[in-house]
Amino acid sequence: MPVVNGERRSVAKLIRFTPSELERVLDQAQASGRPVACFIREASLGSRPRMKNGSAGDAIVHQLARLGTRLRVLARTATEQGLPNATDFDAALSDLLETIRQIE
């Protein structure tokens, strides 16, 4: 448990949000690259948590990579089974990887 100005963060407080409010808070916390509690504490005490560098790009790359991983499995299966459209999977995967490469 971290010590701040000689004090430990030993007290908890339950806060209620509407579902949409919580979703916005979670999104903003993730965008800032901070844990949710940390984000709420910092924001409520007056500081403005900065956006984490490249976090938007990372999220996109992450999602594209998930798709790409599944697409690669499909492409491999199609090639192994000699499906007629196997090359289409490969082409799609190549396009997707090229897209990822272009994201900073």
Binding site: G33, D58, I60, A65, G68, L71, L93, L97
Partner: protein, 406 residues
Amino acid sequence: MIGVSSSNKSFRALARYLVEGRAEEAENRVAWIASRNLPSDDPELAARIMRATAAQNVRVKEPVYHVALSFDPGDVVDRAAMERVADRVVETLGLQEQQVLIVAHADRDHPHVHLLINRVHPETGKVWSRWQDYPAIQRVLREEEEALGLRRVPGRFTERAVSERDVTKGLADDLQTYERLVEIGRQRYNVELESAAAQARLAQLDAAAERARRALDTLKQSLRAVYRDPDHALGSFLAAAGKDPAAAARQMQETPERFGELLTVDRGMGRSRTDDSAARGTARTAAAAGRDVIEAERAFRVAIAQARNGRRKETTDGSDQEPADAQAAVRADLQRTQVSLGKLRDEEQRLPGLHLLERALARGLWELSPPEFNRLRLVVTGAQFGLARKLRHMAQDVALGRDDEM
């Protein structure tokens, strides 16, 4: 097989290192690359994707998990076998859903693969914990050694019959032997130096003695053509040369009769006359030979003095041999060094080879857990423990395939 693991911060840096290494290592470094749960085998792209996935967890500080698996240089393993072992390790650690880049290297005698693993799960975003990963990896490696018929690496996770004390005792004994081998090597070097010096001294003495002997023979031959009693003349000349060498040589040339009665020739011209001009002429040659003798004797004495000085540096007996004993003393030195050398070589041959022992020790020390390694300190000397630490570090470098490069 040996397996080691570590955590890092940067996927990109490690991926680049695995592919390129240092500048001079890039050529033929990578044998093959494979991946798991990634859309591409391209290390740069894989590192980018892994970084993006790891960024989904805002708490993780070191998302990179690096495992290096090294086979014995004698193991014949193909790509399929290496991938099998890598997959078994990943599966046993519970990382089968994690993103993994497998890079096999061909830049060392021993085949080895590196696993670049993302500790952050690609779907749940949870961070995998390394807790107790080492025993798990070791167990898999021992099982795979058995299954694939690879060289078995003795270790605490399989050789449970051998108590920890026995392992430590064995390592302590090996360390002692290793230390003795290093000491023998040092002593052998010194004795070889001493032997070479004694040989040089002996050669110098022999050459000086030979030169003196030849000069004396020439002088005797010359004196036979000058004096009626050449032996007496030689004795007188040497006695005079002992006091003043230059004057003795000059007298031999100018007034040879000082050293004995000269040979004469009868000249019958009505009355009896003797002629010693031939002897006086030859006396000039004898004077030159006499100078040679004096010079050769002086050189011989210098050689003896140098031999004495050399021996004083190497021996502590403080004896001061007579000139006549000098050659015998140096020969005795030479014989003594040869005997010492023979003894050291015999002892060295009875012990295991230095490099073989070094390698076995390094591997054995690497297998010890940190507490076991620290307990070794209790049964070895400080110097031996320092040696053990160095060898353990060396084994770590070899296992990581970096040989002091990272």
